[in-house]
């Protein structure tokens, strides 16, 4: 018995920085004591974060290749506008179902390391086949390639989220999700700025357009190769860390069953609905926004383009910052409500006023989107056990994709028939729905979960420390 323990000292010592006696690394070899190689130290975690960021970079980069090269697809390769849009539909519609399956496969069959590698490889193969389809000018092959790419892309995002929680659950989870969100925007933006210059490179201009496009897309697939290498690197680091810390990949040896999905707690489904209700008022607006700003605010087409891309640019910067703030304060559910209110205010201004600066409004839009995204996704980790994380994220992605696909069809019809004011009211209704479900989540959390989802950061650390110490004491007792 430790001599410092008296009758009055608490039986369970709260953890400090997550370190406690039984957590000491078994043996020090090589560079392990160094901060950068010690899985317990923040520096190592941040290095892992850097690798994690680039896990999906290839998929985000290549996803928007058609948009960056749109005029070439339509004019040189002779695609009609609907054939071009189908390049995106073949990615999104299958993912209504595939994300869920991918998440389940990660949890049950492949495990996170192999799963990430497999899905990154699907992205790579999809992009290469896409390049081949363009090279030989076969539209059917291009569609099949986007389908393959879609299998990899969305499930890779699920894998990335699962990795993030596995490494950062007790630490800066919100900020990490903010950083990952940022990377998706950065990948897309880099793509938009880089693909046209690559296409115009002198050494390629002699080729016929299909061959030219094929070569350019093949060059783009280098980012997917990079992603695959990141998954391999991350798999090694993860395996090493788990070995050093004495943990297993499937921690308790239990695996998820399909029927576990029906036993997910209500908050998971509430979060799904909030996610859909919020995202359908963001993405469809941005894709339809150009004409809106052109006509209503009388901007030039270039300015309208800049205004509609402003939320993405702002969120690339604001997401990590908002995530950091949310980490410091906790109370995720309140942050979601706050972010939704801000977006609501933004839509109200866009719908009912003419005088406000559209740049300011869209920047405000971007910040509110960052707040909601950085606070919403980490909440899932507090609702489901680790063995079901991939599945839960897969379901959320699936529901989100389904909602977006359906609403995208509806928004086009609404604008054509009844104009933009009706569309804005439509978005406002969805935001109100999100707010209602958010309040339901808040009330449910208060009543049935001891306020676990909405704890402040300090409280969360304290309680999690106590729980961890209790678990270790139980484990020590069992030995």
């Amino acid at each position: 018995m430790d001599q410092n323990v008296t009758e009055r000292s608490p039986l369970l010592q709260p953890a400090q920085d997550g370190l406690s006696e039984s957590d000491e690394i078994q043996e020090y070899t090589g560079c392990q004591p160094e901060a950068c190689c010690n899985p317990r130290r923040p520096l190592h975690r941040y290095m892992v974060l850097a690798v994690m960021c680039f896990l999906s970079f290839g998929s985000y980069f290549c996803y928007d290749n058609p948009a960056a090269l749109q005029d070439i697809f339509i004019e040189k390769l002779g695609l009609s506008t609907s054939e071009y849009s189908a390049l995106y539909s073949w990615y999104s519609w299958p993912n209504v179902v595939l994300s869920m399956i991918g998440g389940f496969l990660i949890d049950r069959v492949f495990g996170i390391r192999l799963g990430a590698f497999i899905f990154a490889s699907f992205c790579l193969v999809g992009q290469v086949v896409f390049a081949a389809g363009a090279f030989f000018n076969l539209l059917g092959l291009m569609y099949f390639a986007r389908f393959l790419f879609g299998i990899g892309g969305e499930s890779l995002a699920v894998a990335q989220n699962t990795y993030a929680i596995s490494w950062f659950r007790d630490h800066e989870l919100n900020m990490v999700f903010g950083v990952l969100l940022s990377m998706s925007r950065i990948g897309s933006t880099v793509n938009m700025n880089v693909m046209q210059p690559i296409y115009k490179a002198k050494s390629l201009t002699d080729l016929t357009p299909p061959k030219h496009m094929g070569v350019v897309l093949l060059i783009a697939s280098a980012t997917c190769v990079f992603s695959v290498m990141c998954t391999i690197l991350l798999a090694f680091i993860d395996r090493r860390a788990k070995r050093l810390l004495g943990q297993q990949a499937a921690a308790t040896g239990e695996k998820i069953e399909l029927r576990d999905i029906t036993r997910f707690p209500l908050p998971v489904w509430l979060l799904c609905i909030i996610c859909v209700a919020y995202y359908v008022s963001v993405f469809p607006f941005i894709s339809l926004g150009e004409v809106f700003f052109l006509r209503r605010y009388q901007t030039s087409p270039d300015a309208a383009d800049a205004i509609t891309s402003l939320p993405y640019i702002v969120s690339a910067v604001a997401s990590p910052i908002c995530g950091f703030l949310i980490d410091r304060t906790g109370r995720n559910v309140l942050w979601i409500m706050f972010g939704t209110f801000l977006t609501l205010g933004c839509h109200i201004c866009l719908a009912f006023t003419f005088n406000l600066n559209p740049y300011a409004l869209m920047a405000w839009f971007g910040v509110s989107y960052s707040i909601v995204a950085a606070s919403l996704w980490p909440l899932v980790s507090h609702c489901v056990p680790s063995r079901a994380l991939g599945t839960a994220y897969g379901i959320m992605q699936s529901v989100q994709n389904l909602g977006l696909a359906c609403v995208n069809l509806a928004t086009g019809a609404i604008v054509d028939a009844k104009g933009y004011l009706m569309l804005e009211v439509f978005f406002l209704m969805w935001l109100c729905l999100a707010l209602i479900f958010c309040s339901l989540l808040y009330l449910w959390d208060l009543k049935y979960m001891d306020g676990r989802l909405n704890r402040s950061a300090a409280e969360r650390h304290r309680i999690e420390g106590i729980e961890k110490a209790a678990a270790e004491a139980a484990a020590a007792r069992d030995e």
């Binding site: 004409v291 030039s300 028939a417 104009g419 009706m422 439509f426 406002l428 109100c432 209602i436």
Partner: protein, 332 residues
């Protein structure tokens, strides 16, 4: 008795080298001006009353060359008719036309087709359509010069000062994507009203819509006055048009930069409503108000009810359930 005239005076074909949708102010040999008075008109659709109560007829323009027997060599024509050759050029393509569709309504209502301008019993809507017109340069655009003459002097016998004003409206239900109305007024007398939008295809949707711009009001030139004197305006007003009417002209252009010019779709249709009195104003429609009240009002009511319920519950229970009391040591 009130009388006024709204006239299409010139069709302008110009080469938009800088892609700015501006008619060149200096004379350029790529700018062709086709006076409407040199067109011939046929009644493509006789006046008829449609099922929705509107009276409608369609005029279609053609050039004199069309009436000529094919074997006549245009080169043998005299100089007076040289303009007709140029005019015939724009109608070279098969199926090309310049049409004016005129609609009137005995009652208040709205047109069926976009931009769905309002009818009063005192106005007429004219749809100006350019279809498949030919031009020799690939960057050609078309514009039209229009004139508003007010034949009714005001109470003091003075000419009215015309102006163009823009009315903003948050509701674009009837013309999706368009939030303003252009009103060309001769105050309290007559007006020409249009939404600054024209459509690039027969199927009128937002994606096929583009912008309509116009120049500032200018006084009539001598040539224009001459042309109007040769038109129906003369028997209406007699004598010197400039004296009697505060007439003004504008040039209307269609399209925006980088839209690949008229040749992108070879189609333009623009609707303008002309009438006596005050131009009708668009208000927020009842449907929108109902949807806003139900779609937003109900959720806000629900939220307020939830917040009040929470506050009441909090006030009733000052200490949270299961509060852990401070630990008291057993042996002090």
């Amino acid at each position: 008795m009130s009388k006024f005239t709204f006239a299409f005076t010139n069709l302008i074909e110009y080469s938009d080298k800088n892609d700015k949708v501006e008619i060149p102010t200096n004379p350029v040999n790529t700018t062709h001006v086709y006076p409407f008075s040199s067109f011939l008109w046929r009644l493509e659709q006789a006046p008829e009353i449609l099922s929705n109560g509107l009276t409608q007829f369609v005029l279609s323009a053609y050039s004199m060359m069309e009436t000529m027997a094919p074997e006549v060599d245009p080169a043998t024509y005299s100089v007076d008719n040289a303009g007709d050759e140029q005019l015939a050029e724009i109608f070279k393509k098969n199926g090309s036309s310049l049409k004016l569709k005129v609609q009137l309504s005995p009652t208040v209502g709205r047109a069926d087709d976009l931009p769905q301008l309002q009818f009063t019993s005192n106005n007429t809507q004219v749809e100006f359509q350019l279809k498949d017109l030919f031009s020799s340069v690939p960057d050609a655009r078309f514009g039209v010069e229009t004139v508003l003459l007010d034949g009714t002097p005001d109470a003091d016998g003075m000419q009215r000062e015309q102006k163009i004003e823009y009315v903003l409206n948050i509701d674009d239900e009837f013309t999706p994507g368009v939030f303003r109305m252009s009103n060309w007024l001769s105050p309290d007398s007559c007006y020409a009203q249009w939404k600054p939008v024209c459509y690039k295809a027969e199927k009128r949707t937002i994606s096929n819509s583009t912008v309509v711009k116009h120049t500032d009001l200018v006084q009539l030139s001598v040539g224009l006055t001459e042309a109007l004197n040769n038109s129906f305006a003369y028997p209406l007003y007699g004598g010197d048009l400039l004296q009697l009417t505060g007439a003004r002209a504008i040039n209307v252009t269609f399209g925006i930069p980088k839209d690949k010019f008229y040749a992108a779709t070879n189609y333009t249709v623009w609707t303008v409503s002309v009438g006596l009195g005050q131009p009708p104003a668009d208000a927020v429609s009842t449907l929108v108000i109902i949807v806003i009240l139900c779609g937003l009002g109900l959720p806000f009511l629900l939220m307020s009810a939830a917040v009040i319920y929470l506050c009441v519950r909090r006030c009733r229970q000052p200490a949270p359930d299961g509060a852990v009391s401070a630990y008291q040591p057993i042996n002090a």
